[in-house]
């Protein structure tokens, strides 16, 4: 579970909402330049895990280190600086409705004052091309795009500022298998080209194997298995096998929500 030089290091990460413990002592390392896929059922805490690392949710306990910096103890300026090195693709794209596509893509560049508005527009066109979209798409509003195109624009926005760390929240949810494979391919290309460190959460097994170098399974707020993503479908772990093969019988039982 321990890597030599992890970019992201989690120790004892816990988070509860009321009586429900969503994360229960998570230990996880993600080595520099590798992709970690976190799998798990709905409500297993995957999204909360990513939001804790991003600083969108404050964990109750534990340590989050990015490049050796304890994020939770870092001063606000340092946290903002760390955040500027992170890109995120949200499950539903989370594109800003009131802005055009190119303004969405260039939002982070303009927010960080990395370039002028006209330069940002040019760079947005370049990034859109990287995800297979024509520059003319830049003038459309997000509502005019299909689900697959919205995911591509979300990916373009996430990589526009060349982040060192990328997060992907259910990148293929709601897409047909072919579009899912296209998005996965774009993610792998982007991550490899930029040499970024990535964490993706998904319950799409084909996507997990395509995107990840390593994988971990989250169940009831705990990491129950970690290994190579290529070994996911033949892990030897009963829980992982049940989950990856979609079997009803096994150690994971559906619980009625109280």
């Amino acid at each position: 579970m321990t890597n030599a030089n992890p970019t992201i290091r989690l120790r004892g990460l816990s988070k509860s909402f009321g009586d429900k413990k969503v994360l229960d002592g998570i230990d996880l390392d993600v080595a520099t330049g590798t992709s970690m896929v976190v799998i798990g059922g709905s409500g297993s805490g995957k999204s909360v895990l990513i939001k804790c690392i991003l600083g969108l949710i404050e964990p109750d306990e534990g340590v989050i280190e990015i490049d050796g910096i304890d994020v939770l103890k870092a001063p606000r300026e340092q946290r903002m600086e760390l955040r500027s090195r992170i890109g995120m693709l949200f499950q539903n794209g989370a594109l800003f409705d009131s802005l055009t596509v190119w303004e969405n893509v260039a939002f982070g560049l303009l927010a960080q004052k990395k370039c002028t508005r006209s330069e940002a527009r040019e760079r947005a066109a370049g990034v859109l091309a990287q995800v297979g979209l024509a520059a003319s798409v830049g003038d459309l509003s997000p509502a005019e795009l299909s689900g697959g195109m919205q995911k591509r624009v979300g990916l373009a926005r996430a990589i526009a500022a060349q982040p060192e760390i990328l997060f992907f929240d259910e990148p293929t949810t709601g897409l047909d298998p072919i579009m899912g494979a296209v998005i996965d391919g774009l993610i792998v290309d982007c991550v490899k080209r930029m040499g970024s460190t990535a964490i993706a959460i998904t319950h799409d097994m084909a996507s997990a194997v395509r995107i990840g170098d390593r994988a971990a399974m989250l169940f009831k707020g705990r990491i129950v298995w970690e290994g190579l993503a290529s070994a996911l479908l033949d892990s030897g772990n009963e829980m992982v096998d049940q989950f990856t093969h979609g079997r009803r019988e096994g150690p994971i039982q559906m619980e009625l929500r109280k």
């Binding site: 991003l54 500027s84 890109g87 539903n92 594109l95 409705d97 009131s98």
Partner: protein, 261 residues
Amino acid sequence: MTAALDFVAWLGRFVLAACTACGRLALFCVSGLSHIVRPPFYGRMFLRAIIDIGYTSLPVVALTATFTGMVLALQSSTGLSRFSADSAVASLVVLSVTRELGPVIASLMVAGRVGASIAAEIGTMRVTDQIDALSTLSTNPMKYLVAPRLLAGLIALPLLVLIADILGVMGGFIIATVKLNFNTQTYLRNTLDFIQTDDVVSGLVKAAVFGVLITLMGCYQGYNSKGGAQGVGQATTSAVVAASVLILAFDYVLTEMFFAR
């Protein structure tokens, strides 16, 4: 005995919840207002907000103010004629419109129109992760979404109320001279003789406070909405109801401050 203890426990929980809600709203307000004066500033968002709040509300505010002035002239003439005090119609219209009806009616109309729209827009951004996306793109959502709207409300409402005052007085003037056969020059002289700078200024100060209240409630309810479309709907309703009640409550407080002797 158990029932009494249950009641005390319920009362305690209710008071704690009310205090928590007030505290959260106060902190949200302070945070939003403080971002108005701290860079970076989002000029485009401010311009968009001032157009949404001010320019697009102009027709509805103009219509309601004009009709309010017309009704006021008609009703006051009917009432005052019983005491042979018809000459007081002009002063009653101008004082009522500038001190009370202009600010309150314009603000209530804007609360229904703009408060709901702000809550719906920010609420939708919340439930579709757009607010989280802002944070990941090095942008403070309070600074980007809330501060420009608060500033726009603070500036746009007094301008709207100034127009509402003029149109309300004009509505009264039209009814008084056309329908009630008042002498035009006498009516105008009575209007100008009775109005004082304080009357107009107090109405504009009220409008500025109401503008902040409307945008604050829209932003607060939207920002804290949960649970998809239903949550956004609830946030929208809460924003309009809370803003309307606060407008009337603050109207009393401000009137007491300005005019109580």
